[in-house]
Symmetry: C2
Subunit: 278 residues, 2 copies
């Protein structure tokens, strides 16, 4: 339980201050931060709130969205990523999660979009290194390939990450995104030393109508958390396990109730084999 | 246009006889058959209707759904697949498409389900060979991994298929299922001599609420058909290109209107580079 981290998205209606308080009340010692509520609070004030509460920041979500071709949109995206790196440094976050973005509007050039991800990474990695921030490429479930993330497998994310120092560019393993991959255990093993974050939520069926809010609470779906957790553990990951759940039904509940549910499901499904616990 | 095949699912409200007539009216010379409407018509009568109309049967859809553990459900599934093989033989279908099935009810054992696919194939391949029917493993988009098909990539399908004579076990390349795969061109090339069918439809966003009916008409979405078609062509595939679209809006239209739309979009998006045309 000491490695459980509450990702803010799981309690989407809470402000940063409320989420910090909720963690403290529940005895949770780490938090995954989203930039929008951080901006609402102010970065300096937010960082102080978190520090004063004694919480670790397991991730800052998120940078990325840099698949646009050369032009003002791309310049703007890279600038925004530099700001995200600054914020991750201010929070002393374990990593800055990168959701790389989908196909640019009207484009069907998937290899081109993927190439621009590699180029963006080349541009941002030196800045991250100077700032002491670890970038974390997040492969996304192929259901999001067109509109969220053209990195579709852990293997593909590692192909990119391996061009860099593992302290500068790592990967995020999110069960929702990788659980289906026939190669997932091989790729998690390959990611040894490069796993910057481990996120859990379940794959539920039928998939809720809004695919962005289609994530389930652990135990409600089809994912074998002990198997994936054991692989992440065997790869040497000793960081936090973030519970990150986008789900409209969950968001409609009182935050404290959600946090208690998360704690209980975490204990029941995620922390069971010592999977992600050392 | 002479390689365009109309998959019956695209005109879901038509009976087999209506679909055959619709193809003839539209000058389409091949059809992909589904078992349920075939059973409604009767296999012998259906086969005669198709033969008398001079149509090729580009596929029979579908066998599979054999991930159940040992027991009556598995015996029943394998028996049903043998019947499907008989029907494919009666229709002289180019292949019997296999949608392998999802996780058994209540199970999270994905490697186990995948293993049972391999075992089912071992059991069915000799029967298919004796019947002169080519089985065609269909890797499914990971969005269907839990509930439809635990074969998630073309590479994984080929790992299985390559245990057998290519005339007995091949693969289906369906653009909806494979378009996102970073490895898709390599795997299509690897599939040379083993591509038993090529199916096209588009990936549209936002994904419609019912993921089973989430397929788009070519040109309405994000898939680069010329790129995938060229790869399939370069792998030596010279069979039909089946248009298979599960889409409630499309099903609500008069069948003839759908067929004309399909023909026009096929000409515009699929047949353009000589991709799937020789």
């Amino acid at each position: 339980m000491h490695r459980l981290s509450l990702n803010q998205k799981t309690v989407d209606r809470w402000s940063l201050a409320e989420a910090v308080d909720g963690c403290v009340r529940a005895g949770i010692t780490a938090i995954g931060i989203w930039r929008e509520p951080l901006h609402d609070t102010g970065v300096t004030r937010g960082a102080k709130l978190i520090r004063d509460a004694g919480l670790r920041v397991s991730s800052l979500c998120r940078g990325g969205f840099f698949t646009a071709p050369d032009g003002p949109a791309r310049v703007q995206a890279l600038d925004d990523n530099r700001r995200a790196i600054d914020e991750a440094a201010a929070l002393d976050a374990a990593c800055l999660v990168l959701v790389v973005g989908g196909l640019p509007h009207g484009s069907r050039d998937l290899p081109g979009a993927r190439l621009r991800v590699a180029e963006a990474l080349n541009e941002l990695a030196p800045y991250a290194q100077k700032s002491g921030v670890r970038l974390a490429l997040e492969p996304m479930n192929p259901v999001y390939c067109a509109d969220r993330g053209v990195l579709s497998t852990l293997g593909q994310a590692l192909d990119l990450a391996e061009q860099f120092d593992p302290c500068v560019v790592g990967v995020v393993v999110d069960t929702f995104h990788v659980w289906w991959d026939p190669d997932v255990e091989v790729q998690i093993a390959r990611a040894a030393g490069r796993i910057a974050g481990y996120q859990v939520c379940d794959w539920i069926t039928p998939l809720p109508p809004d695919t962005l809010l289609a994530r389930g609470v652990m135990g409600d779906g089809h994912i074998d958390f002990p198997r994936l957790g054991a692989a992440v553990d065997a790869a040497g990951y000793r960081g936090d396990t973030e519970v990150e759940i986008f789900n409209a039904d969950l968001w409609a509940r009182p935050g404290d109730e959600t946090v208690e549910l998360i704690k209980s499901r975490y204990a029941q499904h995620v922390a069971v084999t010592g999977g992600a616990t050392p």
